[in-house]
């Protein structure tokens, strides 16, 4: 590079004459300096923005742009054993308002912002659509808040209608709503959720974590105006839907059981009724009905006590149904056999108390089978005395008394059974015949299921499994059985129970089911007094049994609270028959004996149809006569003279 010739510096004070090149160089230097300063300043600012304050600024930016929406997970469905839906979720609409839109406001600068609309006008537009009157809506719209609900979980179509109005300050959200399509069916078992889909009662509460799933998120970018940026960031973390739960309940059997319980409530003027149906061999609960019931879709007006699942929460003294367990223990321990004969009086005095049979009779030689068939208190007490308190206590606990079942249902009671060391003089005879001990209906059904299942106790099961996203059923592990009595003892007790239903002196004749042999036992027990001491004048009527007697498939337990008449053989037994019939049909259990050929089956069907037709014609004639004569409603009188009720009234009390 060629060196630029040096320019002699002029003496101090001597005017300097610069050449054009020098001027240009000087200007360039100044420009460069200014540029350098600008670059430095810019660089410093960039460093500040990009390095020093980067994190804070990024966070501010994200807050301005990002919008995270929580996506609620779909709650799992609840099915019965055949896949029929008992509880499901649908998308409902929730209408809300921003009341600020209906009042004039001021900006920070003092400028007045008029209201976007008049609250009364908006309320008048919404009132015909929403299930609320205009005055209530106006009151809500004029509240001093930023957000108010106008209607939650209304049908989707209602939400669309509101959205179409385009009212200022009014918005519509999509919200899941829990529905129970069959209404009150199995309401106390399935339970319900609150409005935010959190399980509150029943299986909805027990399996809340399984059913609820995991909510997802949707991250969007939005412009300053609030609109989503279509090409912006869109991060979707999809919600994980809840797992479906498959119950062991059979919807049809459950319906028949609930119908029978409600009918029993009305027919026998009772305050409550419960029915449990279990499948032998699996422990599956096919039905668990309690009456009065409630509709989970329409809560609010019913008595809260109607929501409880009486079959597991309420306990009662089992009465004579207990005798089968006492005698089973005695047979298993070799104390007696079904054919052992005993001299049985109609009363026995123990520790200063006298125990009597329900009907007076002379002292007689009865076999153990006859003691069971006649439901003799004295005979059973004598057998229990030979068995002893320790063994009776141990067997009753093995049958499931004194502790909650493995069901884990909310509010389930374990019943009441004192340890034998705490028994006093009259405890043994009292407990032997089903007093001084309390069980739930489920515990009673479980104990009879053990007898039906050849002596092996299986814990009751209400949930068969879960259905995940793959749509496959994941069954819950099969419960392990525990032998309580031998197969021989179980068969012997079943035979005795069969006599109690089909025998000449059996107390459970009304429990018979057409074309099937039934084994079962009636029970009638006084209710303890409210104060906890002594007994009241009210009764609990029960019947527990199984069918077919020789190879049981189903166990049905019926409890009626304060029926009129009081006897289990007259009230609970016919209810048992009705429910057992439906359960056997549902499980396709063939009737006993040879089948009919087609001609005879058609003949029977024709006769049945003819009977019903003639009954209808008679009823129509009676109604017509009543209209012509202008007298009182003979149709009502006809219904009162129901043949089945007459049969019940004519039956001998147990």
């Amino acid at each position: 590079m060629r060196r630029r010739p040096s320019v002699p510096r002029p003496a101090r004070g001597t005017p300097v004459l610069r050449t054009g090149e020098q001027v240009a160089v000087r200007r360039i230097r100044w420009t460069l300096a200014i540029f350098a300063v600008l670059v430095l300043a810019t660089t410093a600012k960039l460093v500040e923005i990009q390095v020093l304050d980067a994190a804070d600024l990024a966070a501010v930016s994200e807050r301005q742009r990002a919008r995270t929406i929580e996506l609620p997970a779909t709650r799992g469905r609840i099915y019965d054993r055949d896949g029929d839906v008992l509880a499901t979720s649908v998308q409902a609409a929730t209408v809300y308002a921003d009341p600020r839109a209906f009042r004039a406001t001021e900006t920070p600068d003092g400028l007045e912002v008029p209201a976007a609309a008049v609250a009364a006008d908006v309320a008048a537009a919404l009132a015909p659509i929403l299930p609320q009157d205009a005055a209530t809506l106006t009151e809500r719209l004029e509240q001093d808040r930023h957000f108010v609900y106008l209607a939650r979980q209304v049908p989707h179509e209602v939400g669309e209608e509101v959205r179409a109005l385009g009212l200022p300050g009014i918005g519509v959200l999509v919200e899941p709503q829990r529905l129970y399509p069959a209404g009150p069916l199995a309401g106390q078992v399935v339970g319900f959720t609150d409005i935010d889909a959190e399980g509150l009662q029943g299986l909805e509460s027990v399996y809340d974590t399984v059913l609820s799933g995991t909510p997802g998120t949707l991250l969007l970018e939005r412009a300053p105006g609030g609109l989503d940026i279509a090409s912006g960031v869109r991060e979707l973390s999809p919600p994980e839907p809840g797992t479906d739960v498959v119950l062991s309940l059979d919807r049809d059997v459950q319906y028949v059981a609930e119908l029978a319980a409600a009918d029993a409530l009305e027919r026998f003027d009772a305050v409550g009724a419960s029915i449990v149906v279990t499948e032998v061999g699996t422990g599956d609960i096919l039905a668990m009905a309690s009456s009065p019931g409630f509709d989970p879709n329409d809560r609010g007006d019913e008595d809260p006590s109607d929501r409880r699942n009486r079959a597991v929460t309420d306990v009662f003294e089992p009465g004579s149904t207990q005798k089968a367990l006492t005698i089973a223990a005695a047979i298993e321990e070799g104390v007696v056999s079904p054919s052992t004969t005993r001299s049985v009086a109609d009363s026995i005095r123990i520790s200063g108390s006298t125990f009597t049979d329900s009907a007076s009779h002379p002292t007689a030689q009865w076999t153990v089978t006859e003691i069971m068939e006649r439901s003799s208190n004295v005979g059973t007490i004598e057998i229990a005395q030979e068995l002893g308190p320790e063994r009776l206590d141990a067997y009753l606990r093995s049958f499931g008394y004194g502790r909650p079942t493995a069901l884990g249902f909310p509010g389930e009671s374990g019943g009441l059974l004192r340890h034998h060391e705490d028994w006093w003089g009259t405890s043994l005879p009292t407990i032997a015949i089903g007093h001084g001990v309390a069980v739930s209906l489920l515990q009673l059904a479980q104990s009879y299921s053990t007898i039906a299942n050849d002596g092996v106790a299986l814990p009751p099961r209400l949930v068969r499994g879960t259905v995940g996203e793959d749509g496959r059923l994941t069954p819950v592990p099969s419960p392990a059985g525990e032998r309580v009595i031998s197969t021989t003892t179980a068969a012997a007790v079943r035979a005795m129970l069969e006599e109690a239903v089909h025998g000449e002196r059996g107390t459970g004749g009304l429990a018979q089911v057409d074309s099937y042999r039934v084994a079962g036992k009636t029970g009638t027990a006084r209710k303890p007094a409210e104060g906890g001491r002594g007994y009241s004048n009210d009764y609990i009527a029960t019947f527990v049994g199984m069918a077919p007697a020789d190879d049981p498939r189903v166990v049905v337990a019926v409890m009626i609270d304060e029926p009129r008449p009081i006897f289990g053989g007259l009230t609970a037994a016919p209810v048992f028959s009705e429910v057992m019939q439906a359960a056997l049909v549902a499980l396709r259990v063939p009737p006993e004996g040879a089948g009919d050929d087609l001609d005879s089956a058609l003949q029977l069907a024709a006769e049945h149809a003819a009977r019903i037709a003639s009954a209808e014609v008679a009823a129509a004639d009676a109604a017509a006569r009543a209209v012509i004569e202008g007298g009182p409603g003979l149709v009502d009188g006809g219904e009162d003279s129901d043949p089945s009720e007459q049969a019940a009234g004519d039956a001998d009390p147990p």
Binding site: V90, L179, P181, A230, D596, D597, L598
Partner: protein, 147 residues
């Protein structure tokens, strides 16, 4: 008369001229196609801008389409869930019973089972391919439209 000498006037120093400057032939600069170059650059820029805008528009369009599809899926899922609830409500045993009674049906009689004179294909029997004979086939009267 005194003579006052006037101060010596400084003479402006002669400007130094660079002694080594020589005249040289200035060649006419090679003509550059500035206009064409500018047009090309503008075109490239325009294409780039157009491409960027187009891609952005396509992305936005695809995003809108995706959102529309999402909305369709959501709506279809809503309808599906509603239909499941509706079907379950229609299958409600209480509703079915009420509807059956309204249609004049009656509760069934006692349960019976039939012993058929011959096995059905579902029971493992070989299907009879011969022309059905009303006399030989006891089920025919039941299935016949004449009944």
């Amino acid at each position: 008369m005194s003579a006052i000498t006037a101060p010596l006037r400084r003479t402006r120093p002669a400007l130094e001229r660079p002694g080594d400057r020589h005249l040289r032939v200035v060649e006419e600069p090679t003509p550059r196609h500035t206009l064409a170059y500018a047009i090309v650059m503008i075109l490239v820029f325009a294409v780039a801008v157009f491409g960027a805008v187009s891609l952005n528009a396509l992305a936005a369009g695809a995003s809108v389409e995706a959102r529309a599809l999402d909305a369709h899926v959501t709506e279809a899922e809503r309808v599906y869930a509603q239909l499941i609830a509706d079907v379950a409500a229609l299958e409600d045993p209480a509703r079915v019973r009420a509807a059956a009674l309204e249609l004049g049906m009656v509760p069934p009689g006692p349960v019976r089972h039939l012993s058929l004179e011959r096995n059905l294909p579902a029971d493992g029997a070989v299907p009879d391919t011969r022309t059905p004979d009303a006399a030989a086939d006891p089920l025919k009267p039941l299935l016949s439209a004449e009944r």
